[in-house]
Symmetry: C2
Subunit: 237 residues, 2 copies
């Protein structure tokens, strides 16, 4: 067993819903029925069902049962941390990453504020363009502490930095604060993007924290207006 019991059950049920074993507006078997089928306790079943609910697979109704929803498949983040490579897998278009800059710097005032860094800290600076269908439409600027990431190569940056950090370095990324605004384009945008005449750009700022709640990375993702799309599933309170 690689997973918990409740995660196993969650993935099993989620898979069956995605594959159409239960269709939208079908009712799931009752909790007591699932207890029997999976030979487990009710609280464990309920953990799995709550995950399904949070992720938009089902709607639970007291006294009635759990209804299967037709959401649950998205082509863009469900309001979570999603790296470019994960995104690209969901896009049917050819996708390319261009590493424009890769160096170790001392933080400037802005960066000091963003990363709570001091003049002595060494910071990796990575600037990459994301090309889709021959146009560079996203500019990703990454800054993170060198003390956590001793080495970083062009090849890693062309692949997925997140995969390297999590799978190779075993850094545990736990949460992020995100802020989305629209700004005027600057010289850097003009240099590294095919702006197509747009003079504004969607800016997504990300503050990424590790497992022990230390701020580790600041990321700025700049999207051309016409190619920007953000999808979200939200439960009321």
């Amino acid at each position: 067993m690689y997973e918990n019991k409740y995660l196993t059950i969650y993935h099993d049920l989620a898979g069956k819903i995605r594959q159409g074993y239960w269709k939208p507006y079908d009712k799931l078997p009752s909790e007591n029925e699932l207890v029997k089928r999976y030979r487990t306790s009710r609280e464990t079943i309920r953990k799995a069902l709550n995950l399904l609910s949070e992720h938009g697979y089902i709607q639970k109704m007291k006294g009635k049962g759990s209804l299967v929803l037709d959401v649950g498949k998205y082509d863009f983040p469900v309001s979570g941390l999603v790296s470019f490579k994960e995104l690209a897998q969901n896009m049917k278009q050819p996708v390319k990453t261009i590493v424009n800059e890769l160096e170790v710097i001392k933080p400037d005032p802005d960066l000091k504020r963003y990363l709570h860094a001091t003049s002595k800290d060494e910071i990796w600076k990575v600037i990459r363009s994301r090309e889709i269908e021959g146009e560079r439409i996203i500019l990703d600027k990454d800054f993170f502490y060198k003390k956590y990431v001793p080495t970083l190569t062009r090849e890693i940056c062309e692949d997925s930095i997140y995969e390297y950090l999590e799978k190779q370095l075993k850094l545990k990324i736990s949460f992020a604060k995100k802020e989305m605004t629209v700004e005027k384009v600057n010289d850097e945008d003009r240099k590294y993007l095919d702006l197509n005449g747009y003079d504004h750009i969607v800016v997504v700022k990300n503050f990424v924290y590790l497992d022990d709640a230390t701020l580790f990375q600041y990321t700025e993702s700049r999207h051309r207006l016409d190619k920007f799309r953000f999808v979200d599933f939200a439960r009321r309170k």
Copy 2:
């Protein structure tokens, strides 16, 4: 008692964190300690702590304890359904709602698609401008089935439609799908907003569902580029 035990404990702890009883990077009492203090079981304490974690108040660490975070206060949606009135309370500026249109219509093709409506359905159409500091910067377009909402007045629209629906009509709004994009401004935007020369606009489309998973409302919120801001707290997977 108005609430559950675990919600009571959650609100109690969240309040104490917000008021600084525990400061960022303090450790919360252990789960076993909280069990004693609140005279309850550990699973109930854990439900409360998991809520705190989801809402960005704490970071739990296996074998160590729960760390208090300095996030948890936001001035814009935490990636949830937030009505204008709730937003306005967090803004220190004078805020006004102008009801531009309020009528019952038959759905046009676009609306039929969005609301899964038929030609026979009657739909409330509400168009409102949101004015902050003397400028109309948000255009809210609301469409919902008349069968759920028999009466609707200008006064209600100037106040908060959500409050009316939930508190007066007891409709239970349970979840929403949200999509954010940027579009070119149209004549309606020009008519009802002070665009200040901007020729693009941030469009937030909202599909709102009731407790029984029926689609009830379609909302489009159009924000002037320079005034748009969206903040989000996200946990990794």
